[in-house]
Amino acid sequence: MSELVIKNLNVSIGDRPILKDFSLTIPKGEVHALMGPNGTGKSTLAKALSGHEDYEITSGEVLLDGENIVGMEADGISRSGLFMAFQYPSEIPGVTIANFIRAALTARLEEGQNFSAPAYYKELYQHMDELKIDRSFTSRAVNEGFSGGEKKRCEILQMAMLKPKYAVMDETDSGLDIDALRIVAEGVNRMRGPDLGVLVITHYQRLLDYIVPDKVHVMWDGRIVKTGGPELARELESRGYDWVKEELAEPVA
């Protein structure tokens, strides 16, 4: 049961269906990449999994280690262990990174558990050092005035601190230069292990050179149309998405 199972998920925005019987299973310990051209529903998947209320799940199931998270509020889904690294992280004026992550961790405490500030800062600083985030950022407001790369590194920092069971990374590579890309990828790689399943959503092969996926899925018109190993991503890089489209046009059993 240690897997994230998405079963026949149908999602609409307003009256428009975006995901159509989308199914995907990510076992813990694996990294899956979800690729596909713009407008095929990749970001919709990320938002719908996270419980965004603008994305209506009309049918289907999402089982997180066996627990159906469809219909749960975003905060409950998060506390159940699903993390989303945002493509466009929001700014939170006046709320420092240290206080924000602390609040998120405190929200996870069970009754009787206490928060240890010294241990928290020790861990926070360690991750910040690894992600090459200057320690002065602890007192900066979340994402306010951050560069693209700083925002994405801050997302990875939050992920490292919150220790989710599954992470969905929504185009984390967008807006990153090559150095930032490497730092972010190294951050994700450090977290890889038997306790974490990752779905990396991306347009480009580039990120997958650093975060080598166990499986690559190609998405088209609201569902997965092709699945393969890392070589599939390279094939897409060299041939584009059109050949997938052409293949699709052929009758499939």
């Binding site: 419980g51 929001s90 939170i92 240290a98 924000f100 998120a104 929200a107």
Partner: protein, 470 residues
């Protein structure tokens, strides 16, 4: 970065929503007349000049119209004939904790001020209804010559100190409600700090209203003599009642040459309270008066702390936070009257309007023609949560003369749905996300507060925000 663990004051609004059946030894009955005033003056054993002051004030109050040509017409809903103007158990202010009656201790308990915090509370005067029920001043303070008493005791025992300034910073006729307070005032703190004495720990008072239809009219006068320094903190919670309760205080501050006074208020009235308060400070040469004012709750709050900078080099500051919920109107602001050259003033006002809540900022900055090198900075930031909220800003700036500068900035912002979603995706409930956003909005101001008050204020905001989502 808040690394420090802070002491838990645990003053929460919901635990303020209760009251005890208390029998009052002295009760002036309902309604307001000369007889009411004679009753109060008799019970208190006041000098004749105080009684005359009260009677004069009653006349001014009766003659003055309500300021509804600019203020909320909700003021018309106060029925003065149904208010009790004086209630007291006839207590002398208590000097030791053991003398404090049990039900009052219970009140402190419910407010989160347990007996074991006595040491912390030493030097605290807390008002229970009309009379100061607990008044304990640290010995070192009295050794330093600091006088910290209730208004009755202040006027009776130390007229040579207090009479000179009593009713001078805020004259009886300043406004209708200062006149009302002058007529029926009771309780409050009178403080005198001798020249050069710097009081290290803040003096505190907690005010509560515990009787239905009972207006609380405390009167505070703080005098910091030349070069003296003092911080005074006032926190208010009131039990919830169905009929309206009137709170109308007058606070006068006098900072003589080179003195510094900081007056901090965290106010958390229940939503049936009319909170109509007049606060003003006088800053002489090189002196500084700073108001830190937080208004949460109440049905209508009207409060515009002011500083008259009468001596050269004087400085005035007002930092305020107002939070208005459904059915609440926070009409607050600041008055900076520059009455000498080279004076500077600073106003930072932050308001949060939630649901139908309404926040209004009114400011006065005056620099007359004959002055020079006066400076004012005003910042007004409003945060709207929910499209129905309303916020207004009415700055009145009168600047004449040479080389006087005024800077005014205003901003209005909203907490966006995407921001809340982002925070919820990290595991915060909607209410927690709202609280944190609001705390973020006021954060730079809260930093100016003493630690225990900033903790208390954050907790109050949390409680307010919890009830505002759904």
């Amino acid at each position: 970065m808040s690394k420090t663990e802070t002491p838990d004051l645990n003053i929460e609004r919901d635990v303020g929503n209760f009251h005890y059946d208390t029998t009052y030894e002295f009760d002036a009955g309902v309604g307001l007349s000369e007889a009411t005033i004679d009753y109060i003056a008799d019970v208190k054993g006041e000098d004749e000049w105080v009684r005359e002051f009260r009677k004069k004030a009653l006349k001014v109050f009766n003659d003055k119209p309500l300021p509804t040509h600019w203020a909320s017409r909700d003021l018309e809903n106060i029925d003065y004939t149904k208010i009790r103007y004086y209630l007291s158990k006839g207590q002398r202010p208590s000097r030791s904790w053991d003398e404090v009656p049990d039900e009052i201790k219970e009140t402190f308990e419910r407010l989160g001020i347990p007996e074991k915090e006595r040491a912390y509370l030493a030097g605290v005067e807390a008002q229970f209804d009309s009379e100061a029920s607990y008044s304990n001043m640290k010995e070192e303070l009295s050794k330093q010559g600091v006088i910290f008493v209730g208004s009755t005791e202040g006027l009776k025992e130390h007229p040579e100190i207090f009479r000179k300034w009593f009713g001078k910073v805020i004259p009886i006729g300043d406004n209708k409600f200062s006149a009302l307070n002058s007529a029926v005032f009771s309780g409050g703190s009178f403080i005198y700090v001798p020249p050069g004495v710097k009081v290290k720990q803040p003096l505190q008072a907690y005010f509560r209203i515990n009787a239905e239809n009972f207006g609380q009219f405390e009167r505070t006068l703080i005098i910091a003599d030349e070069g003296a320094e003092i911080t005074y903190m006032e926190g208010c919670t009131a039990p919830k009642f169905e009929t309206s309760t009137l709170h109308s205080a007058v606070v006068e501050l006098v900072a003589l040459k080179g003195a510094k006074i900081q007056y901090i208020t965290v106010q958390n009235w229940s939503e049936n309270v009319f909170n109509l308060v007049t606060k003003r400070g006088l800053a002489m040469e090189g002196a500084e008066v700073k108001w830190i004012d937080c208004n949460i709750g109440s049905r209508l709050t009207m409060k515009y702390p002011g500083v008259i900078m009468r001596g050269e080099g004087a400085r005035g500051e007002v930092l305020s936070i107002a939070l208005a919920h459904d059915n609440q109107h926070q009409d607050t602001g600041a008055k900076m009257i520059h009455a000498a050259s080279n004076t500077t003033s600073n106003i930072i006002s932050k308001s949060i309007s939630i649901g139908q809540g309404r926040a209004t900022y009114r400011g006065v900055v005056a620099m007359p023609k004959h002055l020079k090198n006066c400076k004012n900075n005003t910042e007004c930031d409003a945060l709207l949560i929910n499209t129905n909220s309303r916020t207004d800003t009415y700055p009145a700036i009168t600047v004449r003369g040479n080389r006087n500068t005024v800077q005014h900035e205003a901003s209005v912002s909203k907490v966006s749905a995407e921001q809340i979603f982002y925070m919820m995706q990290r595991g915060l409930s909607e209410g927690e996300a709202m609280s944190l956003s609001v705390n973020g909005f006021v954060n730079d101001l809260i930093r100016e507060f003493p630690m225990e008050y900033s903790v208390e204020l954050k907790r109050l905001i949390d409680l307010e925000m919890e009830g505002s989502v759904g």
